[in-house]
């Protein structure tokens, strides 16, 4: 929203615009869960903001990246890799095919399955998004330091594998 005050600046209503009201987070403020969620959210938004100009959600990039790194992959394998339901993938791939970034071909040995490959246009877009993604990760490095970054990934991996297998019981 553009500042209309530039036009009709009668007075200076400079009330502190957003006084966060000092909320007490208590125990919640020390949880891993809350910070994981907030960090993931700002990282997601920062990525999308940075990839501006290209169709840029992180998952969209991951789809293109993984097809590029694993040409001929099927939709089911791709869905498992990014941990999405195959039904979530359908409209995304519909769109990527419509844009001529991805080709879906029936697999000869199993005509129920599709194999996925990038077109040259798809590779070009992926390369652009990859540049954005690299810059994004570099900014995270700048924020946390390279050594903390490695430590962070190691810790996150432990959480992922530890809680994921917790499906037992």
């Amino acid at each position: 929203m553009a500042r209309r005050s530039a036009q009709r600046l009668k007075t200076v209503p400079q009330h502190e615009p957003t006084q966060p009201k000092e909320i007490d987070f208590g125990w919640l403020g020390g949880t891993v869960g809350l910070h994981l969620r907030l960090a993931q959210e700002v990282a997601f938004q920062a990525f999308a903001r940075r990839a501006n100009g290209v169709d840029g959600s992180p998952w969209r990039f991951a789809v293109l990246f993984l097809i590029d790194a694993n040409p001929g992959l099927t939709q089911g394998d791709l869905a498992a890799a990014i941990r999405r339901n195959t039904s979530s993938l359908t409209p995304v791939l519909d769109d990527l095919c419509r844009l001529d970034y991805v080709v879906r071909e029936r697999l000869a040995s199993d005509r129920r399955a599709y194999t996925l490959t990038l077109t040259p246009a798809g590779k070009a877009v992926m390369a652009k998004l990859r540049a954005s993604a690299v810059a994004h990760e570099r900014e995270i490095d700048r924020l946390v330091g390279r050594t903390n970054r490695a430590e962070l990934i190691r810790t996150l991996k432990r959480i992922i594998t530890g809680l994921e297998e917790g499906r037992d019981r």
Copy 2:
């Protein structure tokens, strides 16, 4: 191609649960963004699974927790605290009021705003959810260790405040 004359594996249900097909993640496999997202997702699901029996998403818990810790808080302040749009909060609070967990009252000094407080029933549910949340965090401690946990939160906070800029509104 393959004739059915191949030897028949009788009782073995070759039911390999979707053998993940060994996907190559390449550069993506070393990014903070991917692991943040995956960790947040499994943590979210583990929390919901653990809160079984109660209506349990992490955000729902956070809403109850913050109202309890800050009675009389307004919807806008609550939305800012959990970084959700106020319009996302409306249906959640509608539901919590319908269940008689939360009371919405017009603020006398500003009759546009609502103040939020927990009912005794709301406090009871919140206490149950808090026990689940404490157990959840303890499991994370077990996975990463208490010292790494503090380090993890510090690092996540740096990411949150560092990337948050540019999120004007």
